[in-house]
């Protein structure tokens, strides 16, 4: 998502004044709502040590019932406790750090690579396009989980490894979709017209084709936040990425999913957090597109 915005900045914003675009953005209620949500998550993540009532990995003796069941929200633990008697609220706050990095950086990187590959392969005829797309096919057909297990065994598990794996695996899908759209766009009349008028390749790609791809990029970028945050949990499970007891929203959901009937707060609270983060970026992304796209002014 972040990259989607940045690319738009580079291309379209040059025509409109950034300051006024920002003001127009703030005029949209939904966009402001999205910005506020993102701000809350960022603040929560950055200031987690000061906001969190407890250390995220501290297992409280009074955090479990005698039978070993977690406590529901309320009392000393505002969001309840998990299966080890840890405070869920503190874990959600600290988990935001991991999940923000995965959802924004890893996902953004995948989006950037995917868009570049897709647009290049889609626009250029001949062996460049075919070569790139066959490479994409290869990556798609390749068992990503196996790669993850191998990496886990070779490297020390870390957040950056998992970010790398996600970027490595996820760009493929974006590339495929962007490729298909670009091939279609490249044949449209207005592109042909630009070309006959002597426009350079760079100008056509970034001025005319990319803006048409922005909606797709926003869709993939924002939905990708949810899926990558959940994917991170699967990868942690296989030994890549953050290892317990470091929390992430994904692994909180993953650890507790079989308990969703007996301890629903352990699944639905982090689930809602993931959902809201993705939704917030989508609201801002949609609004940005409309604000920045000159043909869209006054609509939507």
């Amino acid at each position: 998502m972040a990259t989607g915005v940045r690319m738009t900045d580079a291309t379209v914003v040059s025509r409109s004044r950034p300051a006024s675009a920002w003001r127009r953005l703030l005029r949209r209620k939904l966009a402001v709502f999205g910005l506020v949500l993102i701000a809350i998550v960022v603040v929560g993540a950055v200031f987690a040590p000061w906001i969190a009532p407890y250390a995220p990995e501290e297992q409280h003796f009074d955090g479990l019932t005698i039978e070993g069941a977690p406590l529901p929200p309320g009392g000393a633990y505002p969001m309840g406790t998990d299966l080890l008697g840890r405070d869920l609220f503190s874990r959600i706050l600290f988990g935001a750090r991991t999940s923000l990095i995965i959802g924004v950086v890893a996902n953004g990187l995948a989006l950037l690579i995917g868009t570049l590959v897709g647009i290049t392969a889609g626009y250029f005829q001949g062996w460049i396009g075919a070569g790139l797309m066959r490479f994409t096919d290869l990556m798609m057909a390749f068992p990503a989980l196996l790669l993850a297990i191998c990496l886990a065994a070779i490297f020390e598990p870390s957040l950056w490894i998992v970010a790398m794996v996600i970027a490595l695996v996820n760009w493929v899908q974006t590339a495929r979709v962007i490729y298909t759209e670009t091939t279609s766009l490249a044949t449209r009349d207005f592109i042909a017209a630009e070309r006959t008028m002597g426009a350079g390749t760079g100008r056509i790609l970034f001025r005319h084709i990319l803006p048409h791809l922005v909606p797709t990029i926003i869709v993939w970028g924002t939905l990708g936040i949810s899926t990558t945050v959940l994917l991170e949990a699967t990868l942690s499970f296989l030994g890549v990425g953050v290892q317990p007891p470091t929390p992430s929203w994904g692994n909180i959901i993953f650890e507790n999913q079989t308990y969703f009937q007996s301890a629903p707060w352990l699944v639905f609270i982090p689930g809602a957090a993931v959902l809201l983060l993705a939704l917030a970026f989508n609201l801002v992304g949609d609004a940005l597109r409309d604000v920045l796209d000159p043909t869209q002014r006054g609509r939507g």
Binding site: Q125, G126, G129, A130, R134, D137, L138, M140, A141, F142, P143, A144, L145, L146, L147, I149, C150, A153, I154, V172, Q173, R176, V177, Y179, T180, E181, T183, S184, T187, R188, H212, P215, T216, I218, V219, T222, L223, S226, T227, L230, I253, F254, Q257, T258, F260, V267, G271, V274, L275, A278, L279, N282, T295, G300
Partner: protein, 306 residues
């Protein structure tokens, strides 16, 4: 067209060769010894060595890979290290279930996703649009396990409309397909919506409207076929996702697909099974994407095959 197909098929073979090489290499460097899994806990180092030699695992990588390819050309996927069964038998007996579920799930995704996407595009900015958008985010953010079990609990256990898991009849297929369809529809509805909005803005749609065609006719005959293009690409991607991992849905619904086979084999480094499953799913994915590339020009004749 024939030349194009021939070239693409050759390229596909090369891709599969690449996939087999990388996978085999990763399994070779993987720090987990299959012989240890076979020989058991009380085996002496000598026994381990004998088994290693029997399986040819003491050979250098290139020899091992060469032998594997040699078998592959003759249609031999080898035998499982731990089960001793032919890998081909294990994979073929499970592949139909996977393919059936995949086709049914993609059908559900398209039905739900495209419909909602069109509806959202047409009611852009209105409450219905927002409802669809939030719904699509809920779908992609929801953990598979929870959704599968919730649907199973409500529709099979409580209401008794469907069997509680299993395989064989249409009734068995409905819930797993619907679960995957619902979860995956988020992507389709968002893509369809944005693609549709883009198409509706284009000149030829305006022209059609100006020519006096009804709104419904314009949408169905002109806008929809153009907007559906990215969706075709999505299906190609989806095949990859399905072949890569629907273990969770398979095990909740007791669906005998290859996901569970692969998962167990990875846990126990049963290399022949991992290779077999990888190659079969890679073939499906490559063919699926080839199909998508062939279908796109049929829908949008301006795109050329290349």
């Amino acid at each position: 067209m024939a030349a194009y197909l021939a070239r693409r098929l050759i390229e596909s073979l090369l891709i599969l060769l690449g996939v087999s090489f990388i996978t085999f290499f990763l399994l070779y460097v993987l720090p987990a010894d299959p012989v240890r899994q076979i020989a058991g806990r009380s085996a002496t180092p000598e026994t381990v060595q004998i088994i290693r030699e029997q399986l040819g695992l003491d050979q250098p990588f290139i020899v091992q890979y060469g032998r594997y390819l040699g078998g592959l050309v003759q249609g031999d996927l080898g035998r499982s290290y731990l089960q001793k069964t032919e890998v081909a038998e294990l994979v073929w007996s499970r592949l139909p279930a996977t393919l059936l579920l995949m086709v049914a799930a993609i059908f559900c995704e398209l039905l739900i996703g495209v419909t909602l996407g069109v509806v959202a595009a047409l009611s852009r900015g209105r409450p219905l649009d927002h409802v669809v958008m939030v719904g699509s985010f809920v779908a992609v953010s929801a953990p598979q396990f929870v959704v599968s079990l919730l649907l199973l609990y409500v529709f099979a256990v409580k209401l008794g409309w469907f069997p509680i898991g299993g395989y064989g009849t249409f009734a068995h297929l409905v819930l797993p397909a619907l679960t995957l369809g619902l979860l995956g529809s988020g992507w389709y509805s968002r893509m369809m919506r944005s693609s549709m909005i883009d198409v509706l803005r284009q000149d030829f749609v305006r022209t059609a409207r100006a020519k006096g065609l009804t709104r419904g006719r314009v949408i169905l005959r002109h806008a929809l076929p153009n907007a559906i293009l990215p969706i075709i690409a999505m299906i190609g991607i989806d095949i990859g996702v399905f072949m890569g991992g629907i273990v969770v849905v398979e095990s909740v619904f007791g669906w005998p697909g290859i996901g569970q086979l692969a998962w167990q084999a990875i846990q126990r480094v049963d290399i022949p099974i991992i290779m077999g499953v990888t190659l079969v799913s890679a073939t499906t994915i490559v063919l699926g994407n080839l199909l998508a590339d062939i279908i796109c020009p049929m829908i949008d004749p301006r795109i050329k095959l290349r």
